[in-house]
């Protein structure tokens, strides 16, 4: 088993490094293409040509951009993410706490939404064609077609403003007890779950329905297996590959895509950080965030691929 998986994972890590390099170079070029640089943006309205020139020199921005980029890459290998241009703090320090926050939020959301979505998807597949199935389909589409900011705002209005059950803000640093954790995370997690569950539900249902029409499921039926057993024991193990992929893609949204939730609930995570970094053309910070998102995405995708391989004895 490991004989197949280990080289695969190693190969993937190698390719991941290549991908990361492409991404960070692409991001570098993209940032370079954007008009304005950090000196101009920091000075904002007071960016007179001399002031900009002076600040540029002081920030060593007059060195060629490519040179700065390469130095940053070189720094990465020693674990140094560089210094933020915007506020002269080490990027590692800026990202550290916020990445942790993002991971917490992503983790809690995943813990809630993945089981719920898979259950709904599987149930819809078992009772395909039924009222329940149609209801799940319509509800999932309805839920994702409501813009995220509307879900979030409605939740705040209902639970914080009218009912006053939950705080309107999710101040992550105030979590001391489990009860608080529930209160703080409840609304962002619900909002995000709404957004990411639909894809998982639809894909789980599709994958399970697909395998339900195979001869070995028919054979299991002829052995006297119950509908639940057909789905759970026979269809599901063979549908794990596509499901894992859908879950991975959905979860990858939780790192970089949560900007609206972070904004409305004032949750300090990395998505907002990246947006800030782009707004200030803070190259080391943009690069570091991009690398983190990309790495997160690759990790999820790789896990999904490994899971699909492990779930299929023919590939092991």
């Amino acid at each position: 088993m490991t004989s197949r998986v280990l080289p695969l994972v190693l190969g993937r890590i190698g390719l991941a490094v290549v991908t990361l390099t492409i991404v960070s170079f692409a991001v570098f070029v993209a940032t370079a293409l954007l008009p304005g640089d950090v000196a101009q943006i920091l000075l904002g309205q007071s960016a007179t040509p001399e002031a900009v020139a002076g600040l540029r020199t002081a920030m060593h921005l007059d060195e060629p951009a490519l040179f700065r980029f390469l130095r940053w890459i070189a720094g990465l290998f020693t674990g140094d993410f560089g210094m933020s241009y915007a506020n002269n703090m080490p990027v590692g320090q800026l990202i550290g706490a916020r990445l942790l926050n993002s991971l917490k939020l992503a983790g809690v959301t995943a813990l809630l939404s993945v089981p719920v979505a898979l259950t709904l998807g599987i149930l819809a597949a078992i009772w395909r064609g039924s009222l329940f199935d149609r209801l799940v389909t319509v509800m999932t589409i309805a839920v994702i077609s409501v813009p995220e900011f509307m879900v979030a705002t409605s939740a705040v209005l209902l639970f914080a403003v009218y009912l006053k059950w939950l705080p309107a803000l999710s101040l992550a640093n105030e979590v001391q007890s489990f009860g608080q954790l529930l209160k703080v995370f409840a609304m962002p997690v619900i909002t995000l779950s709404f957004v990411i569950s639909a894809q998982m539900i639809r894909m789980t249902r599709a994958a399970v329905v697909e395998t339900l029409s195979t001869p070995y499921v028919e054979m299991a039926l002829l052995k006297g297996a119950s509908p639940a057993r057909l789905v759970l024991k026979h269809a599901l193990p063979n549908a794990i590959g596509p499901i894992a992929n859908a879950v991975a893609l959905s979860l990858s949204y939780l790192l970089g895509g949560v900007i609206i939730v972070e904004t409305i609930f004032n949750y300090p995570g990395v998505a907002k950080l990246m947006v800030d970094a782009v707004a200030t053309r803070d190259l080391p910070l943009i690069q570091s965030c991009a690398i983190i998102f990309c790495a997160g995405y690759l990790v999820l995708i790789t896990i999904a691929d490994v899971i699909s391989i492990l779930s299929n004895p023919r590939l092991r």
Partner: protein, 553 residues
């Protein structure tokens, strides 16, 4: 003796897209007594599988039991709820599917699936079930009975899977076992073992059986009674012995007559002035898996095979399951580039990879795949499947194309109505014939036929063989004919190549096959071909020489 199974006036209908209904079983009545084995034989597409499934209260998607009753041990299966039926399945009645390979879940170990019936119905403790399974494996003469259950389905051969699926059906100790063509995919030597195992297990368990087959000789060995079907109706029914010796219905006579096919007469050589080799295969080595240090692949399936085939002549390839027959065909067709060796076709050396061959070269050589269902695109209709090579090679369109499709369907004895169906709506034998028709559509010079008659009844198989011969006369075609069915090979081939473990053991004249001068393995193969006489199988045990040969394998 009370009847275990009592089918009265069974009707099964399919509903077409346009809402029209059509009966595929038209009022069949059938009884099986306790402990009795009844064979269902008949034309491919006559509804054998459909009847067998109805015994479990099940129909395929799109079909529906529309009339009659199916009584199992005095209870009406058709009137039960799905939950009640589930209780019977596996315990009272169990099923050995037509395609064992597709019936195993690729994600679970074999043992897990074999004892699943026990788990579902809580028949006995799991440990006990495992012991029983191992005992069954042993009884079915499977290799390594202790450990074979720990493997996954793809890790055992097709013949072994077929036996394992029988174990799966037998473990719950059902009163009735339904076998749907359980030996179709097996070579003759394996077939013997499996048949024996079935017989002894069923006898010792006192089980009744319904045995679906197209092969009269096999049925003769195992069944107490035979029911002959055609077009969804029962034509004739009787004790095995009497039915074989005194068939009443003309169709039955036809079936029996087709069993001993006319010996092969090579086409007259008059219109072939010079003997010209069409295909020359020299020292081909091929296999699967990553290349090793010595340049050979991990698993070498074909070892240094060499033969040559003249235009207008046919070569048969026989050998046990897994000996590399299909691999060789794939190499010739350009699907699997050989490690070494050369293939010269029509005077020109062919590129190893099909991609690099010219369209004309590809057209002139067609391959018919062994697995009929995976070789047809499930999403396309039969007319699309047959029409494509017509358009692709010959630029046919519109009415001309339709006419040619109809012609092709006629050639392979299929009604024109199948044109609008998808492959999943055809029976096993019908799919096989579609594959043949597709190859014919290209109007090739050489057809590589991989087991094209294995799922066909003797009458249709004979007709197909006749068709091939006729085409050969008209178009001076050549065939490479891969088959487990020695009699068919003898009826069409000029030469037979016997393969054993990837090697070519001998090439002889088919009439001399199994004769004194030939290779011992060839003789064993020959001796294993079932004879159309009751008790041939039981008589084998007495045959000391055969027993020794089989034991030595």
């Amino acid at each position: 003796m009370a009847n275990l199974v009592d089918i009265r006036d069974l009707k099964v209908e399919v509903k077409t897209d346009s809402g029209r209904r059509m009966d595929i079983i038209r009022g069949v009545s059938l009884q099986v007594a306790e402990g009795e084995i009844v064979a269902l034989i008949g034309e491919s597409g006559s509804g054998k599988t459909t009847i067998a499934l109805s015994l479990m209260g099940h129909t395929r998607a799109g079909c529906r039991i529309s009339g009659g009753s199916v009584m199992l041990a005095g209870e009406d299966i058709g009137a039960m709820s799905e939950r009640q039926r589930a209780k019977l399945r596996g315990t009272q009645v169990s099923y050995v599917p037509q395609s064992a390979a597709a019936a195993f879940n690729p994600a679970h170990t074999i043992m897990e699936q074999v004892i699943e019936v026990v788990r579902i119905h809580g028949l006995m403790p799991v440990d006990e079930a495992k012991k029983k399974a191992v005992a069954l494996f042993r009884a079915l003469s499977l290799p390594n009975p202790e450990t074979i259950g720990d493997r996954y389905p793809h890790q055992v051969s097709g013949g072994q899977l077929q036996r394992l699926s029988a174990a799966m059906a037998l473990i719950g100790g059902p009163k009735l076992v339904i076998f749907d063509e359980p030996t179709t995919a097996l070579d003759v030597t394996t077939q013997i073992e499996v048949l024996r195992a079935f017989k002894s297990v069923m006898k010792s368990g006192g089980m009744a059986g319904v045995y679906v087959s197209h092969d009269l000789a096999v049925v003769a060995q195992i069944a107490d009674r035979i029911v002959v079907l055609k077009g969804g109706e029962v034509l004739e029914e009787g004790e095995t012995e009497s039915l074989l010796t005194h068939p009443q219905h003309p169709y039955t006579r036809q079936l029996l007559a087709a069993f001993e096919p006319a010996a092969y007469v090579p086409p007259p050589v008059v219109d072939m002035p010079i003997k010209r080799p069409l295909l020359e295969v020299t020292d081909v080595v091929a296999g699967y898996g990553t290349p090793q240090a010595n340049g050979l692949p991990l698993m070498v399936a074909v070892k240094s095979v060499r033969f040559s085939l003249d235009a207008g002549r046919n070569l048969g390839i026989i050998g046990e399951s897994g000996c590399g027959k299909s691999t060789l065909a794939r190499v010739i067709a350009g699907l699997l580039p050989p490690v070494s060796g050369s293939i010269i076709f029509d005077g020109k050396e062919l590129a190893a990879h099909g991609r690099h061959r010219l369209r004309e070269e590809l057209r002139k050589m067609q391959i018919i795949f062994q697995f009929a269902d995976t070789a047809l695109n499930p999403a396309k209709s039969i007319s699309d499947i047959l029409g494509r090579p017509l358009t692709f090679y010959h630029g046919l369109k519109g009415a001309g194309r339709e006419a040619r499709i109809n012609q092709l369907l006629d050639m392979v004895h299929l009604p024109q109505t199948v044109k609008h169906r998808r492959p999943s709506e055809l029976s096993g034998g019908q799919k096989q014939r579609i594959n043949l028709a597709r190859a014919l559509a290209a109007e090739p010079k050489l057809i590589l036929c991989d087991e094209i008659t294995s799922a066909l009844d003797t009458v249709v198989a004979a007709a197909v063989v006749d068709l091939l011969k006729e085409l050969q006369r008209e178009l001076s075609l050549s065939y490479i004919f891969i088959s487990h069915d020695l009699s068919t090979v003898r009826s069409i081939c000029d030469e037979v190549m016997v393969m054993y473990k990837g090697e070519n053991v001998e090439i002889t004249d088919p009439s001399r096959l199994g004769g004194e001068g030939s290779h011992p393995y060839s003789r064993l193969l020959y001796a294993s071909v079932p004879k159309l006489q009751v008790g041939w199988l039981d008589g084998l045990d007495a045959d000391a020489e055969m027993a020794a040969a089989l034991a030595g394998r």
